[in-house]
């Protein structure tokens, strides 16, 4: 199984979630994070004077999938999250050794 972690723009969350459901992803965990990268930080103003804001709000989607689903999920997220502008985000994948469903104690793929 694989652990997929995608950092995306907040406004894309709805779209990504909907597309993932369509391809049969029944569960995911999201959290609010702040990102720093090519995309420049924003300039806000305080009483007419500029203030640099370095970190930008992003959403992290955290998703465990079976190996066979991996590529499909990556493609789905890439498409749904893309705006073509800097700051679209990244997808990180690594190996997942074990999963347990707390409610039932089920282990492995059927716990997903």
């Amino acid at each position: 199984m694989k652990l997929i972690r995608a950092i995306i723009k907040p406004e894309r969350l709805h779209a990504v979630k909907d597309r993932l459901n369509e391809v049969g992803i029944k569960g995911m965990t999201v959290s609010e994070v702040k990102g720093f990268g090519h995309q420049k930080g924003k300039t806000e103003f305080y009483r007419g004077n500029p203030v640099q804001v370095h970190f930008l709000p992003k959403i992290q989607i955290f998703l465990a999938v079976t190996d066979d689903k991996k590529d499909e999920v990556i493609n789905v997220i890439t498409e749904a999250a893309r705006t073509g502008k800097y700051g679209d985000g990244k997808i990180f994948v690594n190996n997942l050794e074990e999963v347990v469903r707390i409610r039932t104690g089920e282990k492995g793929e059927e716990a997903l």
């Binding site: 806000e44 103003f45 305080y46 009483r47 007419g48 004077n49 500029p50 203030v51 804001v53």
Partner: protein, 401 residues
């Protein structure tokens, strides 16, 4: 005793207290970093409590008793001799004491904006106590207590000098002794909640009706005119600040919008009993623009970390309004008229400004030096940059959602 006037001053006392608690507290708290929110509120709140007791013990007496031209005596300490029967004008003196107390509360609280996010709470309380006795009460005596500036006929209807000039000047002096926040001006965090700041600003606007309107000490056309010109100046300055911001930075920020309001209110304060609607409009135009540039100038040219711009908004505004009060009082600008010539009156205003600025600067400096040697002024640097004054000084966290 006039019941109608009494009714209005009872109301005005509530309105002016409301300006400080929660008004000013929220206005300032919204502008600081999240981790110093409680500290900022506690400073305003603590000052309100201390000022009330100090005013009761000696402040009122120093400001409003005796024949001396420069300072009152202690004949009314602990309000001795202020009975149910004593009147000041045609309202009960005890009510006048209360109304004036709310001014003695907000003035030192205004200075909080200068030293937030780094000062010791003990220093705040100690400085404020001395400051009320040695700066605020004497200046009040000069101007409203029958002192020498009153004799000269200076115009200061609701406290351009007594309140805003003293607060603004002291802000600069204290910051000079205290030093800037760590990282200033490179690292500079935007306000943690413009929403909270706007709530406070709006409360200040509303409360100002009692501040300027109540200063007529009567429920009459004078009070009506005072709140109208106050309101027009506030609204106009709000728009001016907003449009400059919009033009310069492409975006009209809410923090700027509400700062314009405060600038307009502080500026019209000394003039509000002498001018007409057009005068209020003019003061709005001037304060909205002059204070706007004063903020950038003091903070980023002079690099003085008067953190929430007390001098730029209150000091500059209060002085500006004081200097223009004479001119705008003239019929030419639809003012209510004046006995002296505009020139003579303006000279008096100028003398008032110079005297108050110099006196305030010197005495406040001395107070800071004393306090520094007794308590020290700053919290530990680690507290300032890490946990913040909320947890560090007050042991509480401002939000736990």
């Amino acid at each position: 005793m006039n019941g109608a006037n009494t009714a209005w001053i009872l109301t005005s006392s509530a309105l002016v207290l409301f300006m400080t608690l929660p008004g000013l507290g929220l206005f300032y708290a919204g502008l600081v970093k999240s981790r110093n929110t409680i500290s900022t509120l506690a400073q305003c709140y603590g000052i309100a409590a201390v000022a009330s007791v100090v005013w009761f013990v000696a402040g009122y007496s120093i400001a409003f008793s005796g024949e001396n031209n420069y300072i009152g005596d202690l004949s009314k300490a602990f309000l001795s001799g202020v009975s149910l029967k004593s009147l000041s004008g045609d309202i009960p003196e005890i009510l006048f004491v209360m109304f004036q107390m709310t001014f003695a509360i907000i003035t030192p609280a205004l200075i909080v904006g200068a030293y937030v996010e780094r000062i010791k709470f003990s220093a705040v309380l100690f400085i404020s106590t001395l400051w009320i006795l040695a700066v605020y009460a004497p200046v009040t005596h000069w101007i409203w207590g029958g002192g020498w500036l009153a004799d000269m006929g200076v115009f200061d209807f609701a406290g351009g000098l007594v309140v805003h000039a003293t607060a603004g000047v002291s802000a600069i002096v204290i910051v000079k002794v205290l030093g800037p926040r760590v990282g200033f001006p490179q690292y500079f965090d935007p306000p943690h909640s413009p929403v909270i700041a706007m709530t406070g600003a709006a409360m200040l606007w509303v409360g100002w009706f009692g501040f300027n309107g109540g200063s007529a000490l009567a429920a009459n056309a004078n009070a009506g005119m005072a709140i109208l010109v106050t309101h027009i100046s506030a609204a106009t300055a709000t728009l001016v600040w907003m449009f400059i911001d919009w033009y310069k930075n492409g975006k009209p920020g809410l923090v700027g919008i509400i700062t314009g309001t405060i600038a307009g209110l502080a500026t019209v304060t000394p003039a509000s009993g002498f001018i007409g609607p057009m005068g209020g409009f003019i003061l709005g135009l001037l304060s909205g623009s002059i204070c706007y540039f004063a903020v950038g100038f003091i903070k980023f040219k002079l690099n003085i970390d008067d953190s929430l711009d007390v001098m730029a908004v209150h000091g500059v505004g209060g002085i500006l309004g004081t200097l223009l009060a004479g001119i705008l009082a003239s019929g030419t600008f639809g003012g209510l008229g004046l006995e002296k010539t505009v020139f003579d009156q303006t000279m008096v205003q100028l003398i008032g400004v110079i005297a108050v600025v110099v006196f305030t600067a010197i005495v406040t400096y001395v107070i800071c030096i004393i306090t520094k040697s007794l308590f020290g002024l700053r919290v530990a640097e680690e507290q300032e940059i890490s946990e913040g004054l909320d947890l560090g000084t007050h042991g509480e966290q401002s939000y736990r959602f």
